[in-house]
Amino acid sequence: MLLAILLNVGLAKLGAGVGAGLAAIGAGIGIGQIGGKAVEGIARQPEAAGDIRANMIVAAALVEGVAFFAIVISLLIVVL
């Protein structure tokens, strides 16, 4: 009975949806932290704004890459 519930495709898709949402939360928190610290750094030293901006964008791309892993897995669950 439990196995039947667990093997239900609908439950898998629910899991995919929840996973995608958690990925969005993770990306939001991560990039929010990056942005916040970057802006703080610029406020402390406005001359370094260009350097800080470049590093912020690189770090944001890397964090988004991790979030996209979770998105790809969720898409695979829905499609396969």
């Binding site: 039947a4 964008i57 690189v58 791309a61 890397l62 890459g65 996209f68 892993f69 998105i71 790809v72």
Partner: protein, 381 residues
């Protein structure tokens, strides 16, 4: 004074916006009209609604012909050559994909099923799952090697031609104008090339950076041009080449191979017998070396998935907003019009974001490749 200037500018923007919505709304209305006039003459009795999932996947995945648009039930597409090698005896087959008539006809003993080429005798079969329901098996027929010139291959040819033409002409200009100030396209490319040389290669690799400059420049511009071309909605753009995991796999493999071949003894010592780690993590059970070896493979794998997921996800989201117009339009044309304003605004915003993502992904791929090269060549400190 300022108010008058602002008001003048605002009204011309408003006019443009209204015209844009009207034109878009008209085209949406025409597209929706078709869903009422089809289907009494086709094989299926049910009314086929708008399949957003199918539309999105058709745009994001590879295909054997380049589909441009649908006028009513008639699909307008550019046929592409199909080249298959049948290992079960018949050898090579060359024909145009128009023979398949968008999947409705078989030709030469082959037919198109689920975007794959299979033999005419292939039938989809189902397997019984544990609950007694039937699940469809993915289309799989071994023995047919598909070397066709698909949509992605044509896009690859086009972007390679663009890159080749651009850089060969700039190189010739440099040779011709030695010692003079840059002119024309040189002005556009020189800052980017110098940026890659100074901020990416020199900082990451060190003094031996020149050997790696051709590769870094190539992948940067290859990824950038292909990302940007994927955003152009009409032929020859819109083919989502860098969103194809096979392409990103090859790029990541290049980085992996170059890292491995340019690695010095120090690199391998740090993987197998890293200094500063207690002996019981290396012997008898080599836990740390195992982790490090996994790291050697995860790094290019992550490069591959990052580029693929970023580009494909961007396309899927933009296409999703566009399909909202059609989904709401099926409920009622008025809803379609209303949603179209919001949808187009969001799609525009996302397209601009995707241009930024195109640059960032090219930059991150190149930067990380350079970092891996630099880490492989690090001397002992």
């Amino acid at each position: 004074m300022i108010l008058k200037k602002f008001w003048g500018g605002f009204s011309s923007f408003l006019t443009t916006a209204i015209i844009a919505v009207f034109l878009l709304g008209t085209s949406v209305a025409m597209a929706n009209d078709d869903s009422h006039t089809t289907d009494s003459h086709t094989e299926h009795a049910e009314k086929k609604g708008f399949d957003a999932g199918a539309m999105i996947f058709n745009h994001v995945l590879d295909a054997h012909s380049w589909h441009v648009m649908d006028i009513g039930e008639h699909a307008i597409s550019v046929p592409l050559p199909i080249i298959i090698y049948d290992q079960n005896g018949s050898g090579f087959h060359f024909f145009m994909s128009s023979r398949f008539e968008h999947g409705h006809a078989a030709y030469d003993g082959y037919k198109l099923l689920d975007n794959k080429i299979v033999r005419e005798s292939y039938t989809e079969h189902e397997v019984a799952t544990a609950e007694g329901e039937h699940a469809e098996v993915a289309v799989e027929e071994p023995g047919i090697l598909d070397f066709s010139i698909t949509k992605n291959v044509v896009a690859l040819f086009v972007s390679s031609f663009i890159i080749f033409f651009l850089f060969v002409s700039v190189a010739k200009t440099y040779k011709r104008r030695k010692g003079q100030a840059p002119s024309g396209v040189q002005n556009f490319l020189e800052p980017i090339i110098l940026f890659i040389r100074d901020d990416i290669a020199k900082d990451s690799i060190g003094h031996k950076y020149e050997k790696y400059m051709p590769y870094l420049l190539t992948i940067f511009f290859f990824i950038l041009i292909n990302n940007l071309m994927g955003l152009v909605p009409i032929l020859p753009g819109g083919a989502n080449l860098t969103g194809n995991i096979s392409v990103t796999l090859v790029l990541a493999m290049f980085t992996f191979v170059i890292t491995t071949f340019s690695a010095n003894k120090n690199y391998w010592v740090h993987i197998i017998n890293m200094p500063g780690v207690p002996w019981w993590l290396k012997f008898p059970l080599p836990l740390m070396p195992l982790v490090e070896i996994m790291g050697v493979f995860t790094k290019p794998f992550v490069l591959m998935v990052r580029l693929f997921a970023n580009i494909t996800a961007g396309h899927i989201v933009i296409l999703g907003f566009m399909s909202m117009i059609f989904i709401f339009g099926e409920i009622s044309p008025v809803a379609g019009y209303g949603v179209s304003v919001v949808s187009v605004a969001f799609s525009l915003f996302l397209s601009i974001l995707e241009i930024l993502v195109a640059f960032i992904q090219a930059y991150v791929f190149t930067l990380l490749s350079a970092l891996y090269f630099g880490m492989a060549m690090e001397e002992e400190h």
